[in-house]
């Protein structure tokens, strides 16, 4: 007994010492890293001689752990791929003497706490010239506070509307805002009902209750009302839902012709499967908001249940432009699957950044990475399929930022699952594809 106790004491003492040592080493290492990586603020001090820029530092802050990791991990994968392509296939930023992009990844975690820490850490240790992130609106807000203060342009991949309405100066967004998704879904459905002469009596709006789902659903409702179609019922459910049974019962009762639905991700699969199993005949299910139904992961998990479902997409993986095909192929080769929306937003955002850098090297050769210069270029670029790779990756094929940093031509593509494959059907259907409406 005595020896056991003393053994335990020895172990716990050792553990104590080890923890203590780790802390001390961590502290010393931290200070050393801080001292060695502290970068003089060259970007903000104008220099007379033309600086030689060897690399452009791009920070990316995404939720890599927690509930949102599914999006963040995809975004980082996309960024890694694109940086590879830019550095190796496009030869870096040519106007800056072939400067290479260097990617710095930070985990934003699940709360604004960790997102702010991630931003501060990124800024104080590497001081990136441009930051991308952070998918979830409140994480993005925490990051934006930091990038605003430090005057670092932030290209957001979060879609919620309010993020461009807070008067921030260095915040930009190429992706279509959330409410655009709702509008697009309604426009598509109404156009189809006219074209195919399908009568609709009952419309149900079904959406998850997160800020994203609610914003998109608000977009749906206001567009419906603008088109004088009054939705019969709006069903809100928690985005962490595990059982659709009761909701299916309610849908059976309402017997809608059209369901306009905003799924989060896993709930989309659950819903589709439950609806399929229930045998309820709904003429059409149109998703909005890019997550769920038509992305490769959902199709893989839900199988036949999502056949002929549509969803609006901030990115169009099937867009038949040269560069889009090329990048989708590269992504498939590297990661073994089609890119989802989270990846797509990063594709065109990062490509837009790259093209802006090219322009910066020409317009402001003496100080190309100055945030104000970058902002000027961001706002001045008017891109389309013929003059830009980024535009080729964008669903509407056009990118022009307004003064608040939002894309004037922000728009979505609508994908439909046809024979287990996501196909673009709207606004222009891809070659050889016609939208299936209503569902057979």
């Amino acid at each position: 007994m005595h020896t056991k106790n003393s053994l335990r004491e020895a172990i716990s003492k050792t553990v104590g010492i080890v923890i203590g040592l780790v802390i001390v080493i961590a502290a010393v290492a931290g200070v050393l890293i801080y001292m060695t990586t502290q970068v003089p603020l060259t970007t903000t001090t104008p220099t007379t001689t033309k600086p030689t820029i060897e690399k452009v530092k791009i920070g990316i802050i995404e939720p890599l752990t927690g509930r949102y990791a599914v999006f963040g991990q995809e975004a980082v994968d996309a960024a890694r791929l694109l940086v590879d392509i830019i550095n190796n296939e496009l030869g870096g930023v040519n106007s800056l003497g072939g400067a290479r992009l260097e990617l710095y990844v930070e985990d934003a975690g699940t709360s604004p706490d960790s997102a702010a820490l991630a931003a501060e850490r990124l800024v104080s240790t590497y001081r990136p010239h441009i930051i991308l992130g952070a998918y979830i609106s409140r994480l993005t807000a925490a990051v934006a506070e930091v990038t605003e203060r430090e005057k670092i342009p932030l290209v957001m991949d979060a879609l919620v509307d309010w993020l461009t309405e807070k008067g921030w100066n260095y915040v930009f967004r190429l992706a279509p805002r959330a409410s655009t998704h709702g509008k697009a879904a309604v426009d598509f459905v109404l156009e189809m009902t006219q074209k195919k002469n399908v009568s609709i009596r009952t419309v149900v709006v079904l959406h998850e209750d997160s800020i994203f789902g609610t914003t998109v659903a608000n977009g749906i409702r206001s567009q419906l009302i603008a088109k004088r179609v009054i939705p019969n019922e709006t069903i809100t459910y928690p985005h962490t839902i595990t059982d659709f049974g009761p909701i299916i019962s309610r849908i059976r009762e309402l017997n809608p012709d059209i369901i306009l639905s905003v799924p989060y991700f896993s709930d989309g699969i659950l819903f589709a499967k439950a609806l399929q199993a229930s045998g309820i005949k709904v003429k059409f299910i149109a998703g909005a908001g890019g997550c769920g139904y038509t992305d490769p992961d959902s199709i893989r998990e839900a199988g036949e249940a999502v056949e002929y479902f549509t969803n609006t997409y901030s990115y169009n993986p099937a867009r038949q432009t040269e560069w889009n095909k090329r990048i989708v192929r590269a992504f498939q080769q590297k990661y073994g699957k089609l890119p989802t929306e989270a990846a797509g937003i990063i594709f065109y955002s990062l490509m837009f950044v790259y093209e802006s850098l090219e322009k910066a090297g020409q317009m402001f050769p003496e100080d190309p990475l100055n945030p104000d210069n970058l902002k000027t270029i961001f706002l001045s670029l008017d891109l389309n399929d013929s003059n830009s790779i980024a535009a080729q990756l964008y669903p509407t094929g056009r990118i022009k930022l307004a003064a608040n940093g939002e894309n004037l031509y922000g728009g979505t593509a609508i994908l439909q699952v046809i024979e287990g494959q996501p196909k673009v059907v709207w606004p222009e259907a891809e070659e050889g594809v016609t939208p299936v409406f209503p569902r057979p």
């Binding site: 049974g245 009761p246 019962s249 659950l270």
Partner: protein, 290 residues
């Protein structure tokens, strides 16, 4: 718009099916708490781990998830035993707070292990023979849920039989009643604890395979079950299996009814409001003995 009687009936039926599955989930937790006094906050996370296992096996063998319980239950029984030996036994005599900290730690480890192994995308099983609805006029029955409810009930009653009619069950109940007296009676309390904990974890393996017939796996699914299961145990009191089933059904029906008739968001909160009310007025639970 007034809900039709059919809708209400359907919704109660959905609640009943859900309730039986809850009772299976709560049973293991309740056993571990009742017999050992261990407050296991990682119970839901074992179901999560089980769901992934079922997903791998069912997709690999192209078979129905419910058959996978033949593999998950023994495996989880062994995992339960291993966790008992390494982590639970050293903290048995310690303060409940320390025990909670340790089980929360297990939860963190399991969640993030799953995240690292499978990433965060939800995973569902492709092959299932049971994902269909039987339309019976007014109501329609989801076969997967019917089967899982039936199997849950069967297992819960089986465990009830084990506890009341066998020598081992007697020993378990004696240990729950008074550890010291039980050991005086010649019961090896250590072995009983090992058995109960392994059984508790083994049952999560079963619950996981039933869950996967209509649900899906993601690293954070455990938290959907964790607290709710405790509410069920509290409502049931630690009296017995009948109380547990009754409270599971009540929670299932309340959730289902509020989800259909009021709002799905409210349905998450209602069981907890009921729980606090019941604690105020009947601290021993709805069906517990005084």
């Amino acid at each position: 718009m007034l809900p039709s009687p059919g809708l209400i009936f359907q919704s109660v039926l959905d609640g009943v099916f859900l309730g039986f599955l809850y009772s299976l989930i709560a049973l293991g937790l309740s056993l571990v708490f009742g017999v050992m006094g261990i407050i296991n906050f990682a119970h839901g996370d074992f179901i999560m781990l089980g769901s992934y296992l079922v997903w791998i096996l069912a997709n690999g063998l192209r078979s129905d998830p419910s058959f996978m319980s033949l593999a998950t239950v023994p495996l989880f029984f062994v995992i339960g035993a291993a966790i008992y030996m390494t982590i639970i036994r050293p903290v048995l005599g310690k303060e409940p707070l320390i025990q909670i900290a340790v089980t929360v730690g297990i939860g963190y480890v399991l969640q993030n292990f799953a995240l690292m192994m499978f990433r965060a995308e939800p995973r569902a099983v492709q092959t299932t023979y049971l994902n269909l609805y039987l339309n019976l006029g007014v109501v329609s029955i989801h076969l997967a849920k019917l089967i899982s409810a039936f199997l849950s009930l069967l297992i819960v009653l089986g465990v009830h039989y084990l506890l009341t009619k066998t020598w081992v069950g007697l020993a378990i109940r004696a240990t729950a009643y008074d550890r010291e007296v039980a050991s005086l009676m010649g019961i090896n309390v250590g072995k009983i604890f090992l058995l109960v904990f392994s059984l508790g974890i083994g049952l999560t393996g079963l619950a996981a395979s039933l869950w996967m017939t209509f649900g899906q796996a993601d690293p954070y699914i455990g938290s959907s079950f964790g607290l709710l299961t405790w509410v069920i145990i509290a409502l049931g009191g630690l009296g017995g299996v009948s109380g547990l089933i009754a409270s599971s059904l009540i929670v299932g029906i309340i959730q289902s009814l509020t989800m259909t008739l009021v709002s799905p968001t409210v349905s998450l909160a209602i069981p907890y409001v009921v729980f606090i009310m019941v604690l105020w007025f009947r601290p021993q639970g709805l069906f517990g003995k005084v």
